[in-house]
């Protein structure tokens, strides 16, 4: 039994801070959020199993409450609230709109077919790609699916807030879930309240078959990794015969493991930034005993500055409040894109020591060593940061080569492992855990200065040249283990025949 009185108590305690006392999506924290919290008064919901224009089912609402909405501020409440509390709050949320009480409203789950097999095969993906082009997905999502289509800078949601076309290479961030089934459902239902339409009419009118829509969903799914990236702490940089590749598109990179590091908005220092555009970076590293090559790639819809996005940038700056009592939003400017890689100046004296400078660009007394790259003018510099505000370039060089390709930056920094300025420039010793952190700015989202995306400290490890023993010792270890195992088994079997007892008597 759903109890809206109890539901209200849960709502006031847990939900109203974002969604507002009256359910209009205007709670105290809402102004810092993009996407904004749901406004319940219109009963318009993105994630449904019903046709575009219909109300969601109770199960649709429960899914959003239970599992949350990925890549938004909405957490999963399953485990935090009891089953009864979640049911009651769902019932209470429905009281914000008269549509739920209107018995003439038609609410029916669409008839979804099940996924046809062969979805990862070349033919299926080719068919999917054909429909991606022919039904115009690229208009918003872009040619390669990174949300950089020609219409993308004009997009607004129903409340007039700027909205990004989804980056289809990051299915783990899809609000309605990243599985092929989820994608197919979103194609059928659309995301009401956003520019994403429903494609069900196309099937009803036989412009495409249900199977073809599935192929499109399978193609979209194929753009993201099979599993959401897991964050690992250490980037392993194998040693190669050299020289290291300076180009981001060198084929060598295709054979090097890549590591995902999530970035979050810089909300510690003013002016704070709650809507980071770069959600994370992929990092690869290589060395040849003399030089390190570090490849950073990240999704960014724009090669900033881009005049087509100035209006969008202005809307973002006006929508996302920075500080609680800050100045009015800054004017949109043609900022460049930027990326910074940060190290301590020195490795700790003892390899076991874990002390590191402050992760947020060091401090006056304990600066950090950084490589900074900007898109315009295109350059890379090395220097010391003493907090967010102060950066002094060093004469020592770091080379950077970057390429922008359909919503993705690919950047390779190269630097000598050992440099003359040992006081300021980290010496990249093989076999050590070298602290490293990343920062990214998307100029066309209004990011500049302290308005940026940040990571915490991770580690870079330059692998030593592999001594032959590395290959032999595992084999030896296996043989020894096998031998010992056999002995144990023998003795156990012998025990049944009295050998163990005999052993004890010995």
């Amino acid at each position: 039994m759903q109890d809206t009185t109890k539901g209200k108590a849960v709502y006031v305690k847990w939900c109203a801070g974002c969604h507002g006392d009256g359910g209009a999506g205007d709670g105290r924290a809402a102004a810092h959020m993009l996407p904004r919290p749901r406004n319940f008064t219109g009963a318009v919901y993105k994630i449904r199993t019903t046709a575009s224009g219909q109300l969601p089912t109770d199960a649709d609402l429960m899914r959003a409450i239970d599992d949350g909405l990925p890549a938004s501020a909405m957490p999963a409440w399953k485990g935090r609230l009891s089953d009864a509390e979640r049911r009651d709050v769902a019932a209470y949320i429905k009281t914000f709109s008269s549509f739920f009480a209107d018995t003439s409203q038609h609410v029916a789950v669409l008839k979804f077919s099940s996924e046809p097999s062969g979805g990862t095969g070349a033919n299926a993906l080719k068919t999917g790609r054909q429909f991606y082009d022919s039904i115009g997905c690229r208009k918003c999502h872009g040619d390669q699916g990174r949300g950089d289509g020609p219409s993308a800078p004009t997009l607004k949601d129903d409340a007039g807030f700027p909205i990004f076309a989804a980056d289809l290479h990051q299915s783990w961030r899809f609000r309605g879930g990243g599985s092929t089934v989820d994608i197919y459902h979103r194609l059928r239902t659309g995301l009401d309240g956003t520019p994403m339409p429903s494609f069900s009419d196309l099937i009803d009118q036989k412009f495409l078959t249900d199977e073809q829509l599935w192929r499109l969903a399978q193609y979209v799914r194929s753009l993201s990794p099979p599993e959401p990236p897991e964050v690992q702490d250490v980037i392993h940089a194998p040693q190669i015969a050299g020289p290291v590749p300076a180009s981001p598109d060198d084929s060598v990179w295709g054979r090097v493991g890549r590591y995902w590091f999530p970035l979050v908005g810089q909300v510690i220092r003013k002016s704070r930034w709650f809507a980071p555009a770069v959600s994370g970076v992929w990092v690869q590293a290589l060395h040849d005993g003399r030089t390190l090559a570090l490849r950073v790639s990240w999704d960014d819809r724009t090669q900033s500055p881009d005049s087509a996005w100035l209006g969008f940038e202005q809307r973002v700056l006006e929508t996302v409040a920075g500080d609680d009592s800050g100045p009015p939003p800054p004017k949109a400017q043609p900022w460049p894109d930027q990326l910074a890689v940060q190290f301590p100046r020195h490795l700790p004296e003892s390899p076991a020591a874990m002390e590191r400078p402050y992760f947020l660009m060091g401090s006056e007394t304990d600066p950090v060593y950084q490589w900074r790259w900007t898109s315009t003018p295109r350059r890379s510099v090395a220097g010391l940061a003493r907090g967010i505000e102060r950066f002094d370039t060093l004469p020592g060089v770091v080379a950077g080569q970057a390429r922008f390709d359909h919503g993705e930056w690919r950047l390779v920094f190269t630097r000598a492992l050992a440099t003359p300025d040992t006081a300021n420039e980290v010496q990249l010793e093989a076999g050590r855990a070298i602290p490293v952190a990343f920062f990214a700015w998307d100029g066309s989202s209004g990011e500049h200065g302290s308005r940026m995306a940040v990571s915490t400290w991770y580690f870079l490890a330059l692998d030593r040249p592999t001594p032959p023993g590395v290959f032999i010792s595992p084999v030896l270890a296996m043989l020894v283990t096998l031998g010992l195992g056999l002995v144990v088994v023998r003795r156990a079997q012998g025990g049944r025949r009295g050998t163990v007892r005999a052993g004890r008597q010995r």
């Binding site: 219109g42 575009s52 224009g53 109300l55 918003c140 004009t154 994403m196 339409p197 069900s200 009118q205």
Partner: protein, 245 residues
């Protein structure tokens, strides 16, 4: 008596039904009734409408050979009148008045990456035929608040039908692929509405006798009202005037 009684009863029933049909206000006579007509004047400087850059859509761009397309937020006619003003009976009809929806649809055409018409009306329950003549991707989003909003995709030459369940002035329609595409739909329970055309005039026909509040709605300049009383089949005039802002 028995036979005669049956005949009389049947006749009476037929008469009652006929009378009921005749008296139902929901079926205004196609001919007859009162008419309200007028012009929508425009005063002040005619605002310049931004040109639309259709270079991303060559198919649409090719349809404008004479002059480049402009936005249609304010369309001032050659005779100084204002087009695209939705004029309708806001009040004066019985509260429960609900005309049956006409069988034929109202058509909204997407042609040359613009909506035709830009401002129009429909009856509750009447079919809206949304036509894509361009054959390129349009999405049609209806952003009603009294009607359920919807958003459907049309990537080909095709027609989709939708209906609206509640009176609402106006339901905004838009295409998100082409951010300049906007249309406005007035959903009413009666057929007493008109839209000022290329000469600035509008006509509302077939009104039952009564005193009405007429509202003129413009997407940029807001609303104005007038009170008009019509009797019999007379024609009354109601002019409106909007000023540049």
């Amino acid at each position: 008596m028995g036979k005669l009684g049956v005949v009389a009863a049947t006749g009476g029933a037929v008469l009652v039904l006929a009378l009921a049909g005749w008296m139902r206000p929901s079926v205004p006579a196609a001919q007859g009734g009162g008419t309200i007509s007028g012009k929508v004047k425009f005063t002040g400087a005619k605002p310049a409408m931004p040109k639309i850059d259709m270079s991303e859509e060559p198919k649409c761009k090719a349809k404008y050979t004479a002059a480049p397309p402009t936005e249609e937020t304010v369309v001032v006619n050659a005779n100084g009148t204002l087009a695209n003003v939705f004029v309708y009976v806001k009040s004066g009809l019985p509260a429960t008045y609900m005309a049956p929806a006409p069988a034929g649809p109202v058509t909204l055409d997407q042609d040359g990456c613009r909506y035709h018409p830009h401002v129009f009306g429909i009856l509750v329950g009447q079919s809206l035929a949304i036509k894509n003549s361009d054959g390129i991707l349009h999405n049609i989003k209806a952003k009603g608040t009294k009607n359920r909003p919807f958003n459907i995709s049309q990537p080909a030459v095709m027609t989709s039908d939708r209906t609206f369940t509640a009176p609402e002035v106006m339901v905004p329609l838009e295409c998100n692929v082409h951010g300049w595409m906007h249309a406005w739909l007035g959903v009413l329970p009666h057929p007493f509405f008109g839209v000022s055309g290329s000469d600035g005039s509008f006509t509302i026909k077939g009104l039952p006798p009564g005193t009405y509040t007429i509202e003129a709605w413009h997407e940029k300049y807001g609303t104005q009202t007038a009170t008009v009383t019509v009797a019999g089949s007379e024609t009354k005039t109601a002019d409106f005037s909007f000023a540049a802002k």
